[in-house]
Symmetry: C2
Subunit: 425 residues, 2 copies
C-alpha cells in the first residue's frame, strides 16, 4: 500500500526524515505493511548539500502540496507563514498533514483541527512537543479516560543544557550560553529558547490536550532563564534543589493555568535528574498518580522518528478511507488569572544585618498573606543574605509581599525570586 | 455517538472501569465526543458487593458478548480459557475487543490479530503491559519508524515491591513476601509473580511489538527472585548496584532474545530509582537513544484508565466504519538461542583462603572464554568470600565457567550468580 510523501522543509529534521524514507523503507514496510515513498522536498536553498539526492528538492513548496503523487504532507518549516497557508492548502486538498511546528499548533490549533475534520483527514503533531518522546498521543488517546490535574515538564533542551552546565560547572549564564552556541545547542539568536517562548508554545499545546482548553499564547505566563545567576544555582544546591525551566499546565479551581518559568525543583524529584538537552514530561491525575515520559527532546533523528510515527498513522488512516474522528476536542474552559494561581517562592534578599530586619520582613509577608516556610541567613556583618522559601500563596499575594519588601529600609535588594515546584512539604 | 460497552470480569479492574463509565461519562464525552454506555458486566459471583449496581451484573459471559446492545467488549478475566474463546467470539461478531490479558496476548497474539484483521475490527491491549503506563501504543505506533535495539524494564510490581523492601529494610525474602501478601501486593499463591512468569509474558509482548517476532513463551528464558538473598542485595549495594527483576527484549546478531531474570543495575541507572510497585520501561534505538516510560504498573484505577484509553480508540474506529489496519505486524524473525546471548555476570563464591585460589578461578574463567572485570575479596581466614563481575560473554561460556568452578577443590560453593545489566564500563 503505497503513499507518496511530500516534505516542506529540508533542514535538520526534514533531511533526516527524507534520508530515513529513502534508506529504511524495509524496516518501515516490515513493521507497518506500508510503502512510504518520498516524492518531493521543499527547500529554501537548492544549492545546499543535503542527506538526500537533489533530484527530490524543489524551492516551490506549493508544488509539493499540489503534486498529485503526494498523498501526505509533512510540514517542517516552522513559524507561522507560509507554513499555515500550506498546511491548510494540503488539508483542503484532502491530504493528511504531519507537522512538528509547535508555534503553529499552539497559535492556530483549533482552526487547523476543525479544517482537518471538515476535510476528513488527519492532522498529527507528535514532534511538536518533546522531540522524540511520545507524549502527544498518550495525552490525547491513551489518557482520554483520566481527569488529568497537571502536566509539567522540561520541554526545552537548550535551556536545560545551559542550566545543567551552569549547575555542574559553576559557570555564569553568559559563558555557558556562548559555549552552547559554539556547540550548536543554542541558536545565534537564542531569544526564543532562553525567554521561555518555545517552552510556552509547548506548554500551551499540552494544556490543550490535557484539558481541552486552547490557551492563547498571550495568556501564558512566561519568564525565561536570562536572569538566573550562578549564585542562585549554588544557593539552591545548598538547600537541596536544582534550577530547571519548567512548562506547567495545570487545572486549578479558577480555570486552566499555563506558565513557563524557572523553578527550584527538589533534587530527589525525577525532573531534577533530567540533564543536558534531555526532555521529560510529568503527567499527574487521580487514577494514575504520576507518569513520567523522558527522552531526547530535540535533534534531527529523534524528531524525525516522532514525525515518522505520525506519518505511519496518518497513512494508515488515509488508506482506510475513514473520516477520521478528531483526536483533539476543544472544550469551553476558563483560563485562570495568573494572580490567582498558587505558587511557592524562593527569595534571595540582601539585607542589613541589624536587629529587627527579620521581623520587618516577616511582617511584610504576613500583611500580604504569604506564610514563610523556612529562612536561612548567610553571611554576617554589614552584608547579610537572607534566603526564604514560602508556603503556597496566590501570585497576587506574592507580588504584594515583594512590593512591601521593597519599602523596607533595611532590605537593600530583593536580589532574586524563583518559584519552587515539586516540594512535598 | 453512543457505543455500548460489555465487560468480561468484575474484579478490581473491571469494577473500577464500570464505575468510571457510570460516573465519569461527562469527562469522557467532553474529551472525546463519545458516549460510552455501560451495558453489562460478567462476574463470577453475583452475590459479591461491587462498585457498580448489581443490575449490570450477569454470571453468563456469553450473554455479554452476544448482547446486541454491546458494541465493544472489554476482556478482564485473565487466563487462557474461557477468555480466549470469548474474545474470538466477539471479534467474529464484528465487535472490537480491548483486553488487559497479558497471558492471552503473549500466547495467542498472532491468532488474535489475524482474526481481528479478518473481521475488520480493533484488538487493543495497552493495559497488558505496564498497567497505567502507555507503552504498547508508543511502541506499535509512535516508534514504528525506529530500528529499536532493545526494550527493557521493570514490568512486575509485586517483585519490585519485594526487592525494594529487601533492599531498604535489609529483610530476608520470606519475611518480605509474607508482608507483601498481608498488604495485598502479592497473591496467596505468588508463583506467577516471583517466578518471573508474569514478567515473561509482558517481555514477550514487548518483543513482538518492537521486533515483529512473536516469541513462544517456552523460548523465553525465565528466572525468578526466589533465590535472591539479602546477602547478595547487601553486597550489590556495596559495589554500587541494586537488584531488580528485569524483562529484556533485545535484537541480537543471532535473533531476538527475550528473557526475564534478576539483575544488578548500577545505582545511578534510571531503572534503579524505580521503587515499590512502580513499573518502568526503557526503549533504546539508534535514532532515539533512550526513552523512559514510568508510572504505576498495577492497581485497579491505573489499569482501568489504560483500558479506557483503548476503549476510546476502539470506539472511534468502530464508529468510523473503517477496516482497521493491523497495528501489529508479525514478521519472519529468528529467536536467538539463549546460549549465544551476551551477558555480564556477578558471582559470589565461597572459597578457601589459600594460595592459588584466585589463579585457579581465573583459569576456569579463561578456559571458558569469559574475562573477569573486577574481583573483591571479603573476609579473611578460612572462610573467604569472592565477588566477581565479568565482562560480557555468551551465556554458554558462562555456563562452562561455572562448571569449571564447581570442579575446583578450593571453591567450596558458587553461592550465587546474578546477571549485571546497564553498566557502561
Amino acid at each position: 500500500m503505497r503513499v507518496g510523501i511530500g516534505i516542506l522543509g529540508g533542514g535538520v529534521v526534514g533531511g533526516s526524515l527524507a534520508h530515513k524514507l529513502l534508506t529504511e523503507s524495509d524496516v518501515i514496510t516490515a513493521k507497518t505493511g506500508l510503502d512510504l515513498e518520498l516524492v518531493k522536498v521543499a527547500v529554501r536553498d537548492l544549492e545546499k548539500q543535503r542527506p538526500f539526492p537533489s533530484s527530490y528538492a524543489t524551492d516551490r513548496p506549493e508544488d509539493v502540496v499540489d503534486d498529485p503523487d503526494v498523498g501526505l504532507v509533512v510540514e517542517l518549516m516552522g513559524g507561522m507563514e507560509p507554513a499555515r497557508s500550506l498546511v491548510l492548502r494540503a488539508l483542503d486538498a484532502g491530504k493528511p498533514v504531519v507537522t512538528a511546528n509547535k508555534q503553529l499548533v499552539a497559535a492556530e490549533g483549533p482552526t487547523l483541527f476543525q479544517r482537518a475534520e471538515a476535510n476528513g483527514v488527519s492532522l498529527l503533531f507528535e514532534a511538536a512537543v518533546g522531540g522524540g518522546i511520545p507524549i502527544i498521543r498518550p495525552l490525547s488517546e491513551s489518557l482520554a479516560g483520566e481527569r488529568i490535574t497537571s502536566v509539567m515538564g522540561i520541554v526545552n533542551g537548550t535551556t536545560n543544557f545551559i542550566l545543567t552546565k551552569m549547575s555542574e560547572d559553576g559557570l555564569p549564564y553568559a559563558d555557558v550560553l556562548a559555549e552552547a552556541q559554539r556547540l550548536g545547542y543554542a541558536e545565534a539568536d537564542p531569544t526564543a529558547d532562553v525567554s521561555g517562548a518555545d517552552a510556552a508554545a509547548k506548554a500551551a499545546i499540552l494544556a490543550g490536550l490535557a484539558f481541552g482548553v486552547w490557551v492563547d499564547l498571550d495568556r501564558v505566563y512566561m519568564e525565561g532563564i536570562e536572569h538566573i545567576s550562578s549564585t542562585d544555582i549554588a544557593f539552591a544546591a545548598r538547600l537541596g534543589y536544582v534550577v530547571k525551566l519548567l512548562g506547567v499546565a495545570e487545572s486549578t479551581p479558577d480555570g486552566v493555568s499555563v506558565r513557563v518559568h524557572p523553578a527550584l525543583v527538589p533534587d530527589n524529584h525525577p525532573l531534577a535528574a533530567v540533564r543536558g538537552a534531555q526532555n521529560a514530561v510529568f503527567v499527574s491525575g487521580p487514577a494514575l498518580g504520576e507518569l513520567l515520559f523522558s527522552g531526547p527532546g530535540a535533534g534531527g533523528d529523534p524528531t524525525a522518528t516522532a514525525v515518522l510515527g505520525d506519518v505511519v498513522t496518518a497513512a494508515r488512516e488515509l488508506l482506510a478511507h475513514a473520516p477520521v474522528a478528531p483526536r483533539v476536542r476543544i472544550g469551553a474552559g476558563v483560563v485562570a488569572d495568573f494572580g490567582q494561581v498558587d505558587t511557592c517562592h524562593y527569595l534571595r534578599l540582601e539585607v542589613d544585618d541589624a536587629p529587627g530586619v527579620l521581623a520587618a520582613i516577616a511582617g511584610a509577608f504576613g500583611e500580604a498573606g504569604v506564610s514563610i516556610r523556612s529562612v536561612w541567613q548567610e553571611g554576617r556583618g554589614e552584608d547579610a543574605t537572607l534566603l526564604l522559601i514560602t508556603h503556597a500563596a496566590p501570585e497576587a499575594a506574592h507580588a504584594k509581599a515583594q512590593q512591601r519588601l521593597a519599602e523596607i529600609d533595611t532590605v537593600r535588594q530583593v536580589a532574586s525570586v524563583i518559584r519552587v515546584v515539586g516540594d512535598t512539604a
